[in-house]
């Protein structure tokens, strides 16, 4: 593909997925374009409208993103060529964004975090103190996943304040920017605060310091590696080492034959047989029949071009045990040990 490549991400602008996309594709060679839903990101990669896509996969506090799993399950057969070719870990640090309590104080300097002015200490469960007085805040906007991640702060400093769910944390910041009364606040990202010119009333609201989200980078099956470092591709040719196993991850989905008891264990045993470390398991309704599931396993190692190696052998074996299965990609492990 000559010239600029387009990369789709789950929007809007200033969403956490946008930050993940910017971290992974810092090169001006890429144009990154927001999409409204995770399904739109899959569709634009599948159709070839963009060369790659970025979607959220799991959060360290909230768990898996089931919309993404269901799109990988692809029961309607809309995304047959989607492969994972990379991952991005992003620390998720929520800010309380709004307007400083005294509207006349809202010059450019008002956005600089000030010292703690919250007065007497409340019964402090929260590891974070507000940077500004919060007495004027009567309404909070955020994505519903954020409330649970900021429980201690909200209980300690904004107890009983009305909460309104909106479609994304960046949408929340946009709504608060338009509030002329200045009595609402958003839980959103630093980037959304800067984009909307809002005051930072508090930072690092999340209960869990390690709160992070993992995003997956998608490409189409036909397309080769699009990064010079070959991050998107699967290897082959050379001898397989333990180091190679630790350097890569592979995602596989499968369904089991319900007529055969023990098939789920049989499918999982295949990976153990080839010494492949299983790092996660998820299941979702398969919808082919009530109470049937599709399973997703992530293993260390990669499927190789030349069909050598443990992952390739395990997948050949899986073919004899599973009712159906699909290799959903192999990519470089981005998690620092």
């Amino acid at each position: 593909m000559a010239g600029r490549e387009e990369v789709a991400f789950l929007g809007p602008i200033a969403s956490y997925t946008h930050q993940a996309a910017l971290n992974h594709f810092p090169d001006p060679h890429y144009t990154i374009v927001p999409q409204t839903t995770i399904a739109d990101v899959f569709a634009s990669v599948q159709s070839g409208a963009v060369s790659q896509g970025v979607v959220p996969f799991e959060n360290s506090s909230n768990g898996s993103v089931i919309f993404t799993l269901d799109l990988f399950a692809d029961l309607a057969g809309r995304n047959p060529d989607i492969l994972v070719c990379g991952e991005v870990y992003l620390g998720v640090h929520h800010c309380l964004l709004g307007q400083h309590s005294t509207p006349e104080g809202q010059d450019g300097t008002a956005r600089t975090p000030a010292e703690d002015v919250s007065g007497v200490s409340p019964p402090n469960k929260s590891r974070t103190k507000p940077l500004r007085d919060l007495k004027h805040i009567t309404k909070l906007y955020s994505h519903h996943q954020a409330w649970g991640q900021c429980n201690d702060f909200l209980t300690t400093h904004l107890h009983g304040i009305e909460r309104i769910d909106v479609s994304s944390t960046s949408k929340a910041a946009e709504i608060v920017r338009q509030d002329v009364a200045g009595c609402s606040a958003a839980i959103s990202s630093r980037m959304a605060g800067e984009l909307n010119g809002l005051d930072f009333l508090a930072e690092n609201l999340e209960d869990n310091e390690g709160n992070s989200t993992r995003f997956l980078v998608l490409r189409r099956r036909d397309d080769g590696p699009s990064r010079p470092d070959g991050r998107a591709g699967a290897g082959g040719g050379e001898a397989e080492t333990d180091d190679e196993h630790a350097r890569y991850k592979t995602l596989v989905s499968f369904t089991v034959r319900h007529s055969e008891p023990g098939d789920l264990a049989g499918c999982l045993a295949v990976f153990q047989m080839y010494g492949l470390n299983l790092t996660s398991i998820n299941s979702r309704p398969s919808n082919e029949a009530t109470w049937h599931y599709i399973f997703f396993v992530e293993i260390m190692g990669r499927k190789r071009h030349d069909d050598s190696g443990a992952v390739n052998q395990a997948l050949r074996q899986l073919d004899g045990v599973a009712q159906s299965w699909r290799w959903l990609g192999s990519w470089e492990n981005a998690l620092k040990a």
Copy 2:
């Protein structure tokens, strides 16, 4: 326990969990009491305030109820004595509840489903037709899980109508009852429609005819079986048969040692080693460290009182492989094959 036993369920009155509780405890010997959250049901069983509790566990279309899994994970150690002692499968059939378009027609007969009066057929993706004209409906209330389950009906018959998320489907019916203008409708249960005296504008809205939810019945570890048929208890003494395996289910949670690659597969292999059919797997963030998980497996068979039998042997073996594990109960399989 003498006299009446109290059973807690996830309320409010006329919720699907309420129906599941009524199905499982039809005996007037039981008083069933609504709780506001799933956590409240766990807490009231743990404290002994009630003898049993009923909580939703998974829906055939939407998958696992993560709030219930997180309460079983019990990372804060609040529910150490909770055990599953039964399950209830309930077909979930959503109704569109509101007021008949002509308020003067609202006598007692208005609630009886009438023939199709929706006029010309819309582009009919939906398997269900309205029983009444829906032109006057300008606002819809329901629990957020219900929208996705009724997608075809909503797209075909109520496209573009404003949707408002509320805390439960029965709450939605209550709000609609209070709407004097009569322009709102709720997606809710038959029971909620009857309780609130609302008209049935359509029935069986769900896309998937088999749409059902599985509920679990909880008791405290100390308490013996509280039903004469011993449904809550684990057996022992007699020889174990294949039939016994098929008749019971067992839920186990475990965490793995992250220092040892392959431990997840090793834990799962234990169940296979003893011929136990693994029927489902779930994982949730364990929150002891970022990207560590707690796994939930369901197997056929039961843990026996006398420590004989395959489940008991597997659990002894699991103790040597898992970092931590917990038996969460054994109960009679209620799923008709």
